[in-house]
């Protein structure tokens, strides 16, 4: 009897030892897979920085160096002083457009979301459904007419044209309305009884409570200005109003299509740097906003 028991115990031990080996094996494979993929994901960033620090001679070597022999910051100096790129102007334009459009867009989003979440009026649900339906339509369909409209307004090659057409985002209104709806209505009614004005109530209660969503919207909107390409290219492609992505794409390639890659990579690094800071410090807000949206910045 006791023999049988020990045998069983041994079998069990053996089985669990085997399981443990399999488990460790699976873990090792999992980590190997994840590290390989992570390396592939990171590599372009590494290559951008490394290439931007190489002299053209070293960059052209048939066997590339994984780390520059001579750190050459001249490429960056070239980026900041290049007279075709006008980096300062590009930064200024993009920041100006980004800040103004984000601020105005936030005001419109907040008051619209408030109306949809807290006020009662005829046709509210129908209007909200109609707004959501427009989200299905690809933006290119609007662009054709908007190009005509802004041309007839005489807005081409102004800051206005980069700001006004995109001030209303149905998606942001939707996102913030959902957030506002979670705040108990009793708070609003109590405030009404106390004679608090809507604006004061919005400012003191709703905005603080919905702050994470508002921050997400702010970041996504700013990133949108930083990354927008096609609309600015169509309507404001002059030196005074050009935005950064547009300026970047055409710079450092000569008439024959030959590119000075190290300098170009330095420019790409400079343009990517603010985004990198956003990633480091504000990642969690973006991840929150994104996981509810599916819209690229």
């Amino acid at each position: 009897m006791s023999d049988f028991k020990t045998m069983q115990a041994k079998d069990l031990q053996k089985a669990s030892a085997q399981q443990r080996v399999v488990k460790v094996g699976v873990q090792i494979v999992t980590y190997l897979f994840l590290f390989t993929m992570a390396l592939i994901v990171i590599f372009p960033f590494y290559w951008m920085i490394i290439s931007s620090l190489k002299e053209m001679g070293e960059y052209r070597q048939s066997i590339p160096t994984l780390f520059p022999k001579v750190l050459d910051f001249a490429n960056y100096a070239e980026v900041f002083t290049n007279e075709d790129l006008l980096l300062g102007q590009l930064f200024f334009n993009t920041l100006l457009v980004g800040v103004i459009s984000t601020a105005l867009s936030l005001v419109i989003t907040v008051i619209s979301a408030f109306a949809f979440a807290r006020l009662e009026f005829k046709g509210k649900n129908a209007l909200f459904a109609a707004l959501l339906a427009t989200m299905m339509i690809p933006g290119e369909l609007f662009t054709i007419t908007n190009y005509q409209t802004v041309s007839s307004f005489g807005w081409k090659e102004t800051y206005t044209v980069l700001i006004v057409p995109f001030l209303v985002s149905v998606f942001y209104i939707y996102l913030l309305r959902q957030n506002f709806m979670q705040i108990p209505n009793e708070l609003y009614l109590a405030a009404k009884v106390d004679g608090t004005s809507d604006i004061k109530y919005l400012w003191k209660v709703m905005i603080p409570l919905a702050l994470p969503t508002i921050i997400s919207i702010t970041i996504l909107k700013m990133m949108g200005s930083w990354n927008s390409y096609m609309w600015p290219r169509l309507v404001a492609n002059d030196d005074a109003h050009r935005l950064i992505t547009n300026g970047l794409r055409t710079a450092f390639t000569n008439a024959e299509g030959v590119t000075d890659i190290p300098v170009q990579m330095a420019a790409v690094a400079v343009v990517s740097f603010p985004l990198f800071l956003v990633f480091i410090f504000l990642r969690k807000y973006i991840m929150k906003g994104v996981s509810r949206s599916g819209i690229k910045g």
Binding site: L119, E120, F121, E140, F142, I144, V168, N227, V268, L275
Partner: protein, 309 residues
Amino acid sequence: MVDSKHQWKAWLYLAPAIVLLLIFTVWPIFNTIRMSLLEGYTTMQDVAGVSFNFGIGNFKNVLEYHGFITCLKNTILLCVLTVPISTFLALLIAVALNSIKPLQRFLQTVFFMPYVTNSIAIGMVFAAMFNMIIGGGARPDSVGIVNNVLEAFGFEYINWMNAGSEYWANIVVMVVYIVWNALPFKILILLGGLQSVNKQYYEAARVDSTPRWRVFTKITIPLLSPMLAYVIITGFIGGFKEYSSIVGIFGEKMGPVGQQYSLDTMVGFIYRAIGNNEGRASAAALILFGIIFIVTMINLYVSKKKTHY
């Protein structure tokens, strides 16, 4: 609650949004349909007072226009290749991330990094990685880092995107870049889904000592199916609007040197018609909308049948 004071206040708050939407969203919808049905419509002629025949000529014009079939083919090909590849890879990575403890947060952060980038800028980095620098000799001065890696594994270098490169090589470059770009969003959604799955199902499977593969196909996939449906649908919608990633890599000529517009897409086709032939642009935009609409409906139909909520 509904009194007249509230009514006008609500409309007052909504006024800025409604006015802007009427000008920049609602009017374009009607105007695009109008322009698409006026044969040979151009803004310039319209302003000059020319009248146009009503008909479907613009749609015919689009379908017969040289380059349209190329645009359609490129768009569909990129969609059909990148959506399954990126979804599958994202699923693998999300499941792997979900099964580890140490370094999980760190790796999750790393995988999210490509999201916060400028698709034109990083496209230029990918271009630099695939690009060859032609020198005087028979062999290029530099074959690019991707080719260096290939050669290290004993393969021959490939002309990925320089002048004279082949179509399939260009497509490979685009697929690699688009998948790289699409991964973070999909991983984020799928990992979020995995983390909200009820652990009891896995406990039950463990008690029954269900094999891993069965757990994956019978528990993980069904429970994750709403998120999978979501990333596939948004992936197709984004895929049909592919444009700036190609500009990032190949530049505004949408192709290798000497093969202009060989990689042009539907959106590229629309943009090129803006400012010279709005009738054609409108018809193409409506065709694109139709395709996206049909594909989304098919996706929703399939996912309704396969999704377990």
